[in-house]
């Protein structure tokens, strides 16, 4: 895997990496994908993929409010680094026009 691909993935995954890390990560991924490539040896052309093993289907809950699970405003804000007037402060993502 090239460092260019690593840069692209880092952007997709929103993971800040340094240029020194890029090469190391690329080498590590190449090793790991080499192990994964062993899977090609098995013929799976007629096999359905398994996404979950429980066999459960369409597990639904009542469409109602569970008051036991509600946070107070204080609880909801307790772990946020930046708050203002009872709101969580986030970075601006829209231009002011």
């Amino acid at each position: 895997m090239s460092t260019a691909v690593v840069q692209h993935i880092a952007k997709l995954a929103n993971i800040p990496i340094t240029s020194a890390e890029e090469k190391k990560l690329a080498d590590g991924f190449t090793t790991t994908l080499g192990v994964v490539d062993q899977l090609k040896k098995l013929d799976t052309s007629t096999v359905e993929p398994t996404h979950q093993v429980t066999g459960l289907q369409n597990v639904l809950r009542d469409d109602g409010i569970d008051r036991d699970r509600m946070f107070t405003q204080e609880q909801a804000l307790a772990n946020a680094l930046h708050t203002h007037n009872g709101y969580i402060v986030v970075e601006q993502i829209l231009d002011q026009e």
Binding site: A13, I15, T32, K41, T44, P49
Partner: protein, 474 residues
């Protein structure tokens, strides 16, 4: 100082119930073990200062107020929860995980939170952002992971019992390396609600304990359908302590994987052969299951492919689950991820990205189906399969460094049963007197068959001398 901290859960409950011991004395001994050993072994990341006070409230319930160590990826109100990552440094959960809330309701006390590989990514507890935990049996060696802190807390008698979680090996492998019992339940048997999500189609909370009976007691407490986790099953939960002591007469046991090139002639393979003889002498019908490179009836598919399946599925689920850590609502921003988390998030992002998802992700999920077919066929012929839990004894500190596939290779014997959601238990099955390190036996059965896994583990444990809490005169 006394030695009440060395009591098994079974004995502690009985003695508290009969007023043979007091909670004060029990806590004094556990606290004393913690103060003398924790700074050297680095097991607890946080401890409940009011544990003993909470214990008094539990005295009339099943668990009688005993101190339980819980892996730091279970949300606990009043105790910081970090999953051993600096991203969650200082995080105080606003709600309680289902598992810890069930333990509390049953009279257990969440005594402290144990160190782990950061985000449970690893098999060494060396990738913790709070430093490695050392193996109490021999501090030059790793405890295994990712539930290394919980397994070490049990081995060091710094709790009466513990809770861990397993995605592939994270309960059983550290239990093997620390010489304790670890049970990975069937996927869906125990709720994941309030557990820091890692591989959502794989994660299983479970007990790490001194004896098999202790594991059965804790599984009784934590198992069952939960409205907060839609993947928990409505399958009935039996009383796991009831069938425990009925022996293994007529139980069909298959010996798996010891023909694998990494195991041939190893102490781990020999220990499993001896374990098979013990089970046979107790009336089990024992047979060797041939290893196969392709799917074939009456053979077991090599665990080699499960490494690839697990690697792709787990990293894919990690990339999705760890996307939520933005440092806005809670925790710190994404610059705080350690190397292993970065690697896993990025590889998962890659294998799920456009153009690669079919090649990697779908392929892995198809091979996962092959393992399910393989086990389904084998469990029509065998009741349980046994193998080594780990290819060897605990490795030395530093062994996991700069090895992007360390965990996958150490856990390869658990991965087939993990990707297929099967239950398995580790029980000690060998001991090296020179290093004081242990080998573990992995006993696996069909879905929802924890009862049989526990029964076989109990029969083995009671008829051998490997369990350090059950040493009896020959």
């Amino acid at each position: 100082m006394g030695t009440l901290n060395t009591l098994t859960l079974t004995d502690a409950i009985r003695k508290l119930h009969n007023n043979e011991i007091t909670l004060d004395a029990l806590y004094a001994d556990v606290n004393s073990a913690v103060s003398s050993k924790n700074s050297a072994l680095n097991i607890y990341l946080a401890q409940d200062k009011y544990a003993e006070k909470s214990a008094e409230k539990g005295t009339l319930s099943l668990l009688r107020g005993v101190p339980i160590a819980v892996k730091d990826n279970f949300l606990t109100v009043g105790l910081p929860t970090t999953a051993s990552s600096k991203v969650l440094d200082g995080f105080m959960p606003p709600y309680e995980s289902t598992v810890t809330s069930k333990l509390k309701k049953a009279g257990g006390v969440i005594f402290g939170k144990t160190n782990m590989d950061a985000w449970a990514h690893g098999s060494s507890t060396e990738t913790s952002d709070y430093g490695p935990t050392k193996n109490p049996r021999n501090p030059e060696h790793l405890p295994g992971g990712s539930s290394g802190g919980s397994a070490a807390a049990v081995a060091a008698d710094m709790c009466i019992a513990a809770i861990g979680s397993e995605t592939a090996g994270s309960i059983r492998q550290p239990s093997a390396w620390c010489g304790v019992v670890g049970l990975k339940p069937t996927y869906g048997r125990v709720s994941r609600a309030g557990v820091v999500a890692m591989g959502s189609s794989l994660d299983c909370p479970g007990p790490i304990t001194k004896t098999v009976e202790d594991a059965a007691i804790l599984l009784n407490v934590i198992a069952g359908q939960d409205k907060y986790d839609a993947t928990t099953s409505p399958v009935q939960v039996p009383d796991f302590t009831k069938m425990l002591k009925t022996g293994v007469k007529g139980v069909r046991v298959g010996i798996a994987y010891i023909d694998h090139e990494k195991l041939v002639g190893t102490p781990a393979a020999k220990a499993v052969e001896q374990a098979a003889e013990v089970l046979q002498s107790l009336g089990a019908i024992v047979d060797r299951v041939p290893l196969s490179q392709t799917l074939k009836d009456n053979t077991i598919l090599t665990p080699d492919y499960a490494i690839g399946v697990y690697t792709v599925v787990q990293r894919g689920e990690v990339s999705s689950n760890l996307a939520r850590y933005d440092g806005i609502r809670y925790g710190h921003d994404r610059t705080h991820f350690g190397d292993e988390a970065k690697r896993r998030i990025m590889l998962g992002t890659f294998t799920l990205s456009k153009g690669y998802a079919d090649k990697y992700y779908v392929k892995a999920q198809q091979v996962r189906s092959l393992y399910i077919q393989n086990f389904r066929q084998l469990f029509s012929r065998y009741d349980v399969l046994i193998s080594p839990t780990s290819p060897g004894y605990a490795l030395k500190l530093g062994a996991s460094k700069d090895n992007p596939m360390f965990g996958e290779l150490e856990d390869m014997l658990e991965e087939p049963s993990s990707i297929t959601g099967l239950p398995g238990i580790n029980v000690p099955c060998g001991h090296d007197k020179k290093t004081n390190l242990y080998l573990g036996l992995n006993i696996v059965s069909a879905q929802w068959n924890e009862g049989l896994v526990l029964r076989a583990g109990y029969a083995f444990e009671q008829n051998t001398y490997w369990n350090s809490w059950l040493k009896k005169d020959k």
